[in-house]
Amino acid sequence: MVLTILRPIDDNSYVFSNDTFSHYFDVVIPESNIVALDVETYVQYARVTRLTLSGHYPPAIKPSGSCPDDERSAWNVNQSALVNFTHGSQMLYSYWYADPANPSISSDIVDADSPKAEGDIAPTISVTTSTRDEEFVLH
């Protein structure tokens, strides 16, 4: 039973070197037979030496595949280490799908002008996804 789905850190935020980010939140447990909490954390990030963003576009609902109400945020790729051989303007799309049955996040680098450059750039920017799954017994 999903109790909460939230975004702990805003997209396009910096987590500086040797710095700690903290997010404090409350969870309501409505049913008495719940004996433990399962907390999954997903974070996608890239190195600022490979990627910086600018020009945020307002989030919009963009149905895609199995996600009918996928929320998509978009930014222009302002600078990357590969700026020397990029062509046209690249954009980064960040997808937030908060469906209780199958919540997920993802991101894409898109280059409308040059699909070939898009294929070259995305792996080198190397957006990393880290996951944590922890369980806590309630006393």
Binding site: M1, V2, L3, T4, I5, L6, R7, P8, D11, N12, S13, Y14, V15, S17, N18, T20, F21, S22, H23, Y24, D26, V27, V28, I29, P30, N33, I34, V35, A36, L37, D38, V39, E40, T41, Y42, V43, Q44, Y45, A46, R47, V48, T49, R50, T52, L53, A81, L92, S94, A98, P103, S104, I105, S107, T128, S130, E134, E135, F136, L138, H139
Partner: protein
């Protein structure tokens, strides 16, 4: 090590400088400059651009507070960037699920039945231990009994 090399160079170079040919001097100076430039590029540009981000996560749960029929629990998520590179987050999500057991606290197994089941399991384990301890080596191929494992026959 570096200090030793510098000290050695300062001690020996003035003594041998006069007998080194001009060509060798030029070559040495050129190599030293190239080495310094390569080191500067490696430390200032290559390493920062290629260092992986290392983020350490922490999650702690506060005390459970009752509010009416609901329970309320506070969670604290921390992200600690342990690397020398700043990380840019492009997406994040926390999903909290409640876990419940079917018929939790409503089991039909009585304490007496549970005790009997535990005793039976213990007896089976003891019998198995006895059978292992009583095994004879056949043709030298049987496993040698581990001297670090002892069976308690008092049960």
């Amino acid at each position: 090590m570096t200090l030793n090399c510098v000290f050695l160079a300062f001690k020996t170079l003035p003594a041998v400088w006069g007998i080194i040919s001009n060509g060798m001097k030029s070559l040495g100076i050129t190599l030293a400059l190239l080495g310094s430039a390569a080191n500067f590029w490696f430390v200032s540009f290559y390493l920062p651009a290629n260092t992986q981000v290392g983020v350490e996560y922490g999650l702690s749960v506060g005390p459970v507070v009752r509010s009416g029929g609901d329970r309320l629990v506070a969670l604290d998520l921390t992200m600690d960037n342990k690397s020398s590179v700043t990380a840019l987050t492009v997406g994040s999500m926390v999903i909290v699920r409640g876990i419940s057991y079917t018929n939790a606290g409503k089991s039909n197994v009585t304490a007496q039945q549970r005790e009997k089941s535990n005793r039976a399991a213990q007896q089976q384990m003891s019998a198995y231990a006895d059978s292992l301890a009583g095994q004879q080596s056949v043709g030298g191929s049987a496993a040698v009994q581990n001297p670090n494992i002892q069976f308690d026959y008092s049960i």
